[in-house]
């Protein structure tokens, strides 16, 4: 591995294992609030400057248009043990930054998809994405103050979720509530991993 070269001398201080979970959902659904509730650090923001080449044939008549877009990601950190650190990444709300999602999704333990029952459709893109990628996910209904609450089966039907996908009610502002969602997600990831192992090798 290329990384082997980067270990000069004989001082192998073992770095902890870093893991990540995505926090997805539509715009304004509480992703940063959720991350902040469980993170031991104030959610940080990192940015990626992306240069998008314009379409080769567009209205500008051959002028190659380039726009630099800055994409922000919010993230938090939870130290689980001396040897394990978990990072939570809030995915960008805009669907068009799907390529950034791909990188965020690589090697993720799973995804929490937050939904607001007043605007369920805001979270469709996130659910589609994780389903298509085969990323284990749990859906958490963020109970905003005054939000009309629907019975869980109604929400499940409206989102057309598979029966094994965990669906929980949560208050993204509360640490214990966010933690419960994460536990439910990783338990689901564990079941998924176990099921995959017992299947014959298939895509």
């Amino acid at each position: 591995m290329a990384f082997g070269r980067s270990e000069p001398g004989a001082r192998p201080t073992p770095a902890p294992t870093a893991l990540k979970i995505l926090v997805a959902g539509g715009f304004g659904v509480g992703k940063t609030t959720f991350t902040g509730a469980v993170s031991e650090i104030k959610p940080l923001r990192s940015e990626e400057a992306l240069t998008e080449a314009g379409r080769p044939y567009d209205d500008l008549g051959g002028v190659e248009a380039k726009a630099t877009t800055t994409v922000a990601m919010d993230f938090g950190r939870i130290t689980l043990s001396a040897s394990m650190v978990l990072y939570l990444f809030g995915t960008p709300g805009q669907d068009r930054f799907w390529f950034l999602w791909d990188e965020l999704a690589q090697g993720a333990l799973g995804a929490v998809v937050l939904v607001d029952t007043r605007r369920l459709e805001e979270s469709f893109a996130a659910i589609d994405y994780v389903e298509r990628r085969g990323i284990p996910f749990a859906v958490a209904v963020n109970l905003f103050d005054g939000a009309p609450t629907h019975p869980v089966p109604t929400v499940r039907a409206a989102l057309d979720l598979d029966p094994d996908v965990p669906l929980l009610l949560c208050d993204a502002r509360r640490r214990e509530s966010a933690r419960e969602v994460l536990v439910a997600l990783v338990e689901h990831s564990l079941r998924t991993a176990a099921a995959r192992q017992h299947l014959p090798a298939a895509p």
């Binding site: 980067s6 990626e48 090697g107 995959r196």
Partner: protein
């Protein structure tokens, strides 16, 4: 009139990628994930500071002496940018993820990737490889995560 856009007339030139000397991709052998953890060796800061030759800085300060960017590619022999040293300093105690470094330094992730890859090439920092892409961590790891979360 393109002639008007020379030297100072071109405006501020220290854009984020100037500190990577225009390079936008790190060493091809390194694929630095957002959660790749960067650790500096104990003596790394000292070594990094010594790796910045004084004549490099003198050249920068020489009046009327345009500074030409070096050839693309990691060439630590030409010295480190202050941001390189900041990264080494941050990673000297606890390992820091690429994402954390980008947030702390207020730089785009792409810039941090290039800077970290320079430091890896110079053997000043080590990077842990996160979970292989497209693979779920094994069941033991997942159980540890659940236990860790429950204990919070």
């Amino acid at each position: 009139m393109t002639d008007a856009w020379f030297d100072d007339a071109a405006g501020p030139v220290v854009r984020p990628y100037a500190m990577t000397r225009g390079r936008t991709r790190p060493d091809a052998r390194l694929r630095l994930d957002l959660i790749a953890l960067v650790t500096a060796d104990d003596d790394a800061l000292e070594r990094a500071e010594h790796a910045a030759p004084a004549d490099h800085r003198a050249q920068d300060d020489a009046p009327g002496h345009p500074v030409h960017p070096g050839p693309a590619g990691p060439t630590p022999a030409t010295g480190f940018a202050p941001e390189h040293l900041t990264i080494v300093r941050r990673c000297s105690g606890d390992p820091q993820s690429v994402a954390e470094l980008a947030a702390d330094l207020d730089l785009p992730v792409g810039v941090v990737r290039v800077l970290v890859s320079d430091l890896v090439t110079a053997e000043l920092v080590r990077v842990t490889r996160p979970v292989p892409p497209a693979e779920l961590p094994d069941e033991t790891v997942l159980r540890e995560v659940i236990d860790g979360l429950r204990a919070l």
